[in-house]
Symmetry: C2
Subunit: 117 residues, 2 copies
């Protein structure tokens, strides 16, 4: 079975490349840890098998929360990143979510309609 | 004690924002895992304390390898990301490294002269 982790980033915040990279890394580390605790076999298979990651985008907080709800409805491990707000955007702003790692066919039901960042 | 994780990215490869975010996320997850095994107390303190991350840039592979060597000389946990090459760049290209999490004053001895991405 194929596994992947997907990060979904808001593109309406005007974040620069370095800021986006840090937010996506936050989501990736936290989602990996959450999956490791909730679904250790998913984490291990993914980690040993190349750690596939996909980064996609949305245009609003509302759209991001819809993706989150769809992921949670499928019981996928999801984390939400709220920025500390030291640079570029107000503190507490929700910037992205991380989903999985999880079976690719399951995660595709949530994110396959989203465009690559 | 303050802890942080630093990712160092090559800017000479022409990678787009999404590609960079995925590479930085690879480095962050792998470096976090490595630190968790080698220095579990460093990982725990950092993970529970806000997971500070910094993303900086270099302009060549040579510069990246120099940073890596300086980090290893201080026995810091370091991982290197070699891209699978499915998009944008040739397979096996070294795109970035991840260092730590580690005590900020120690990691600053390696990366404080590098510019933010």
């Amino acid at each position: 079975m194929e596994f992947k982790q997907v990060m979904v980033v808001r593109r309406d915040l005007g974040m620069g490349t370095g800021k986006i990279a840090a937010q996506v890394a936050h989501a990736a580390v936290m989602a990996a840890e959450r999956t490791k605790h909730r679904k250790p076999e998913w984490f291990e298979t993914w980690f040993e098998g190349g750690q596939a990651k996909v980064v996609v985008k949305v245009q609003s907080l509302e759209e991001l929360m819809q993706v989150r709800q769809r992921a949670e409805a499928l019981s996928l491990p999801v984390v939400q990143v709220n920025d500390s707000g030291l640079t570029q955007i107000p503190a507490g702003t929700t910037t992205c979510i991380g989903i999985g790692p999880a079976p690719a066919d399951l995660i595709d039901r949530v994110t396959s309609d989203l465009k690559l960042l």
